[in-house]
Amino acid sequence: MLIDFFLKLRQAKVPVTTKEYLMLVEGMQKGVVGSSIDDFYYFSRTCLVKDEANFDKFDRAFGEYFKGVEAIMGVEADIPLEWLRKQAELNLSPEEKAKIEAMGGWEKLMETLKKRLEEQKGRHQGGSKWIGTGGTSPYGAYGYNPEGIRIGQDGSRNRSAVKVWDQREYQNLDDQVELGTRNIKIALRRLRRFARDGAPEELDLDNTIASTARKAGMLDILMRPERHNKVKVLLFFDIGGSMDDHIKLCEEMFSAAKTEFKHMEYFYFHNCLYDYVWKDNRRRHSERTPTTDIMHKYGHDYKLIFVGDATMSPYEILQPGGSIEYANEEAGAVWLRRMLDVYPKAIWLNPEPEQLWPYRQSIAVIREIMEARMYPITIEGLERAMRYLSK
């Protein structure tokens, strides 16, 4: 029962598990939902989807799987003839009504329908005779026959489930989409690594009490070091040129990172990393920091994050003297590899959408240098990146 639906969801990358599936079946068995597909849609969503980011994927899979099934739901139950007639009359225009008359009138139509219902055992889609959907038989929903009778499709209700999942209103919650500073912060929070080290200067109340009680009242004061977020981050921002398009995203990224990490150092570069970087864009020609100094100053335990679109001429990466600003003695690739040797935990965040990457040669080159550790700046991409960094 519903196993295909379950597999379909997994195929659509909705993270559902057997336990949740069994919960769904249990609910169906206990009659949580009636025969209404609206209810079934809501219930299965409640059961199977545990993150609103997946609602859209779920809606699409649900829509695909149940395309047209809403008609069947009505057929399975006894159809009150009176209701059907009313329904059909609502849906029909005067011309259509005239055509029904041409077919032998309403009574005959209903009679044939009844006969078909008896003949038909299972669900049906397409074709020209059976009751189902998308066909040209006069019976079923979404048909092309003007004489068609809509079965079990409640046209007047504006909150019908079909609409609900066809609207796909949860679309913007999908985590492929970028959503402001706060979300970036939450993504970056994955990188937290709390640790207690340093001088023990905080009173460890719980352990003091436990220890004192254990010693039957001899006061035994225990101290412990304070808890810090120990993670250290080096951020390198590509600035200017093609990055101007992404300035808002980078600003958000920067402000989120700044509040999230206590030990954070940031530097700017243009297009590719060469032998110097800078901290202040207004004085970048006077106050430069040699890249080697950075490698010497900050230890191996720093996590290295590049933020840049990696969009440039491949020469700027691969050729000595390829920089568009000055004649660099060593190629950008050499500098990048050098950095990667010093900082094993390194990633590249790219504000360009991931689908674009294969079409830009320079992105491919940088990605290769980074050993494929390039992630898009979306919530989902950041999470992947942080998961990698925190491993």
Binding site: V32, Y42, R45, D51, A213
Partner: protein, 280 residues
């Protein structure tokens, strides 16, 4: 037992279904949604509608899972032992029951609210897996197993500040409270201010949804802000016309401080208004 919304809580179809599913199948229901969409209210209203007592457990960043079960009050026991109190011989006197224990111990089914579960430490939900799944836990001090007499109806709310572990999610039903559309909003307002003038309400809702549409707001006003704002409008007896006046001086909605809680947002809003005024 079926929940159908209540006199002062408007429940959408999908929410009602989720609640009833959780009640029938006795699984916890995890509620997410924008702040101010009535997540906490839901548990209160379900308890009221079903006529069950409500146990609330509000989570803070320092809350430990253990505190919901029980705490061993070593300090009182120590003091009592120094003073020679005979109570000291029975460890049971120093076990302080937590909210979960109280809910498990109740003689009738109860509603248990675990509020803002995402505020706690990342490991917090993992420490409650068995407790929420089997509705039982072990008290090490007295070597006894506490088992729920009736499985409580559990509501868990989250503001999405931390991701909850998969193992925890798998055991829950999930519902995301969508921001209400205009129709639902009208019903909600109607429930809270039955006497409100239709005209005023329509104008107010229009302004409200317009403010929500302003791009770049740090915190969009939500249902609870709207209700506060309406309360102020009613108290000040502001005529509906004032809300939508074309008079250039009063184009900023009156008492907008109730809708926008952030100084930057107010500035942004005023600036946008100012700009649009110049364009006219």
């Amino acid at each position: 037992m079926r929940f159908q919304g209540s006199d002062n809580y408007i429940s959408t179809d999908d929410l009602t279904l989720a609640v009833n599913a959780a009640v029938t199948l006795q699984r916890p229901l995890l509620i997410k949604g924008e702040p101010g969409t009535g997540k906490t209210m839901l548990a209160e209203e379900v308890a009221k509608a079903l006529g069950l007592p409500l146990y609330e457990w509000h989570i803070k960043s320092t809350t430990k899972a253990q505190q919901g079960l029980y705490e061993y009050d070593a300090v009182s026991r120590l003091r009592d032992s120094q003073l020679g109190d005979p109570r000291v011989h029975d460890i049971n006197n120093y076990i302080v029951k937590g909210t979960l224990w109280q809910a498990f111990n109740a003689d009738e089914p109860v509603v248990l609210l675990i509020d803002e579960v995402d505020k706690a430490d990342i490991e917090f939900p993992n420490d409650l897996l068995r407790e929420l799944d089997r509705m039982e836990f072990y008290v090490y001090e007295t070597r006894e197993l506490v088992k729920a007499k009736h499985r409580p109806i559990v509501f868990i709310t989250s503001n999405n500040e931390k991701e909850l572990p998969d193992a925890f999610l798998r055991r829950c039903f999930f519902h995301y409270i969508r921001f209400p559309d205009k129709e639902t909003m009208e019903k909600i307002v109607d429930v809270h201010f039955p006497g409100i003038k239709k005209h005023l309400l329509r104008e107010a809702l229009e302004v409200f949804f317009e403010v929500r549409e302003v791009p770049g707001l740090k915190k969009k006003p939500s249902t609870s802000e709207l209700l506060d704002w309406l309360k102020l409008l009613l108290a000040d007896d502001i005529p509906p016309e004032a809300l939508r006046s074309k008079d250039k001086k009063t184009i900023i909605p009156p008492l907008h401080g109730a809708l926008l809680k952030n100084e930057q947002d107010v500035h942004l809003f005023e600036r946008l208004i100012f700009m649009s005024r110049h364009n006219r």
